[in-house]
Amino acid sequence: MLRWFRMLFRLPPGASSFADGVDTLHLFLIGSTLLGVLLLSLLTTYFVLRYRERSGVRTTPVVLASGTGELLLVVGTLSLFVLWWVIGYRQYLSMRRRPAGAITVYVVAKQWMWKFSHENGALENNVLTIPVGRPVELLMTSRDVIHSFFLPAMRVKQDVLPGRFTTLWFKPTAPGRYSLFCAEYCGISHSAMLGEVRVLGAEEYQRFLADSSGAHSLAEIGREAALKHACFSCHTVDGQRHIGPSWSRLYGSVVTLSNGEQVSADAAYLTESMMDPAARVVAGYAPVMPTYFGSLDSSEAAAIVAYIRSLEQGPSSPSVRLPEVVVPPLVASSEPKGDLHP
């Protein structure tokens, strides 16, 4: 059924775990529309034939709606709409909730290309290579204007904004090559901002990782960037409180802000804090951080987020003394260490 519907309505074959659900709702909704239009057209045709003007009689009896009939129609239509809303909302929710164990890829959009950074440091332009059957999370930002990351075969789309991170996840279900479009008008070559998502089988993907792995992982690049921009003057990586919050175990944790609000320290929040630090300050810290907008480019910001993320399992008990500001070594995520200064 779904296969015929897709062919008839020109939908690309579904290639993600979202596709079947979305297309079924689509079929339900468009089918109801067509049926509704057909019924009302038939009714109109019947009325026109049945009540055509005869021999110049232009007086008609007053016919008024019966309240209950109208109410029933409204309630009936509205409950159909509400049903669609409920299904649509649940699907939308699942699109926005990242499952555990997703592969993370950082995406930087610019006029007019896509740049992808993998966690092992591999870089790709306009082609994104991912494995089949595993959820992939994209952390995306733009270097100039708004773009939009659109994969028709996966039924996903997300705007990519300058100065903040937006996220998108999907789970590819079939190996293959799929079109990537920019869907938000971004200037003269908007229609040339095309790309491709390459979905590989598990083994091929391992080979890709082995062949492409960069000299440095993204987290290492991020640590270099953090050093260059003197982030460690105020932030520690060993859980020690300093001028700013420590980066250790920060990623994904829930922090309380100075206004009492609680937020999850995700990629979007961390990026905002680099670009517009005064916007949401963690409770107990002075709003003294300068903005890094302009001095920190999008790929550096992405790398720093990857670095902070690599500290997810970092030390939680603060060490005794305040660290002197030196190059801190990267903490391997698997083996938490209590002291970074051997």
Binding site: G88, V145, I146, K157
Partner: protein, 545 residues
């Protein structure tokens, strides 16, 4: 034949409004709402023609996947020109400023609008703004699209500031017209004409005016800030200066979503009138139509977020905006049910305006239901910014507003000109417009499904067949519109003289001669018999004149 007790209002032999004065000055500086309506008609129709030519050029460009007849820059400018011209210079003023101006005072038994000179000012502000917008876009090569999304528009080297100032000026004209109509309906109704007896077209224009007055200032504000961002680097919407580009989208759609109802509510008013007149029947539920008009005007302000489901808004916000959008759709559904039910037990005369209204019903149902579809969050993720959305809003705006505008044009043609056009040509014109429209936009739904993004100069080859089909459709649509210009132009000079009330309507505007005299009615009218009362035969004298 029994004669209704209603006295005849047809004046004996007063000159019509068009013949009362004949100098060019008497037209250009007239404060007569009917003449201003006619002026608006010519100005907005010129805009429609321009916007149409831009659209045809865009469609020709899409005949092949690569460059066909223009460069990428020209293409980007043309879709901006097309959008801005159609939205602000045609669609928004079309029905309210043309037919609203001409008919609203007559429909409430008044001799003029509340502020006749303000009305004239509003027209000339429109002309000034339109000239500004078109010149700026033509000479300054604006390429942002009609939505002016920041930060692209803040950094675009093209003529952003003059264009936005032009739209700002046009906005004043919209606001002045809106205020004028609101005050007119409140203060100038004929004695005994209560609110719940107003003609439905008047109600629709009244609801529209409220939206115009409330929403347009927000547009003016946001466009002004974009101009300041662009000219003086204020940075409110520019992340490079700490601004928020998504805030711009909120402000823009806070206006532009209600603006959709500015375009469709007057069209709905026309449909209510035409259905009632040509089935000689009271509306199935007058109250349902009035309350749904007000409901749309109110709830329409609370749904703007459904344009931003993929812009990075929170899941909760998206859910709330989605639910409110479903609510606003229910008001439109109520209207459709009421219109179709009005036909029942009527005495239906199939004439060109009614054909257009049937066309409207079908196209609007598709447009409305695909609106519900794109308001369904998970579906919108796939369709957002694709040709599906393009097809959806063209079904509402062209299939809805333009079709109703054509229905209004045919329905009130004898009222304004005192002449009749040929029904046969009318039917042919309708058939071409309707089939051309279907041919143009149904392929675009399918293109959107297939994943074709909008505002694409070039496209992958697999989309070509549907693009060519769409382009062919646009030619049929254009032929239908040209034919309409032809036979209506012909009828203007050579058409048969119409009687005062050629459709045997009971609505108030038909209780004076066609065309009406300068002051609308020869005596203070008493509109005792309801506008939709078809229970008694009409006085025979009314059918002459």
């Amino acid at each position: 034949m029994t004669v209704a007790s209603e006295p005849s209002f047809l004046p004996a032999a007063e000159p019509s409004f068009a013949r009362a004065h004949t100098s060019i000055r008497s037209w250009l500086l007239s404060t007569d709402h009917k003449r201003i309506g006619v002026l608006y008609f010519f100005a907005t129709t010129l805009s429609l023609a321009l916007g149409g030519v831009f659209a045809l050029l865009l469609r020709i460009e899409h005949l092949t996947p690569g460059p066909t007849v223009m460069s990428a820059m020209t293409y980007n400018r043309l879709f901006t020109l097309h959008g801005v011209t159609m939205v602000w210079l045609f669609m928004i003023p079309s029905i309210p400023a043309t037919f609203g101006n001409f008919l609203l005072p007559i429909q409430i038994g008044a001799s003029e609008v509340a502020f006749p000179r303000l009305n004239l000012l509003s027209f000339w502000i429109y002309v000034l703004g339109a000239a500004f917008v078109l010149l700026a876009m033509w000479l300054g090569a604006l390429d942002t699209g009609w939505t002016f999304y920041t930060p692209y528009s803040v950094h675009s080297p093209s003529a952003v500031v003059p264009t936005l100032i032009g739209i700002f000026i046009v906005g004043w004209s919209t606001i002045l017209t809106g205020v004028n109509f609101i005050v007119t309906v409140h203060t100038m109704r004929a004695r005994g004409l209560g609110w719940m007896r107003l003609p439905l077209f008047t109600w629709a224009i009244y609801g529209t005016s409220i939206i115009q007055v409330l929403a347009t200032p927000v547009l003016g504000l946001s466009l002004l800030i974009v101009s300041l961002d662009h000219a003086f680097a204020w940075g409110l919407f520019d992340p490079a200066r700490g601004g928020d580009p998504v805030l711009y989208q909120h402000l823009f759609w806070f206006y532009s979503h209600p603006a959709v109802y500015i375009m469709i509510l007057p069209a709905m008013g026309v449909v209510s009138e035409v259905i009632s007149t040509f089935s000689h029947k009271n509306p199935y539920s007058y109250k349902a139509i009035v309350y749904s008009t007000l409901g749309i005007a109110f709830v329409g302000f609370l749904t703007w977020g459904h344009h931003m489901f993929v812009a990075g808004m929170s899941v909760f916000d998206a859910g709330a905006f989605g639910a409110l959008s479903m609510l606003v759709a229910i008001f439109s559904a109520v209207k459709v049910f009421t219109w179709v039910s009005t036909l029942s037990k009527g005495s239906i005369v199939l004439a060109t305006p009614l054909w257009y209204v049937f066309g409207f019903l079908i196209l609007f149902m598709f447009g409305g239901m695909t609106g519900v579809a794109v308001a369904t969050m998970s579906l919108d993720v796939h369709w957002h910014d694709t040709y599906f959305v393009v097809a959806h809003f063209h079904f509402v705006m062209v299939g809805g507003t333009l079709t109703a505008w054509l229905a209004a044009l045919h329905y009130w043609f004898p009222k304004v000109t005192g002449r009749l056009y040929s029904e046969r040509w009318g039917l042919l014109g309708f058939a071409l417009v309707f089939s051309g429209f279907f041919g143009t936009f149904v392929p675009q739904f399918l293109l959107g499904n297939a994943g074709m993004p909008r505002r694409y100069y070039e496209y992958p080859e697999r989309f070509q067949l549907l693009h060519v089909a769409s382009t062919l459709g646009s030619w049929v649509l254009a032929a239908g519109l040209l034919l309409t210009v032809g036979y209506l132009g012909h009828a203007l000079w050579f058409g048969r003289r119409a009687s005062g009330n050629p459709w045997a309507s009971r609505c108030f505007e038909w209780r004076t001669s066609s065309p009406p005299p300068e002051k609308n009615f020869s005596a203070q009218p008493e509109l005792g018999l309801d506008a939709y009362d078809y229970t008694t035969p009409w006085p025979a004298s009314e059918e002459r004149a």
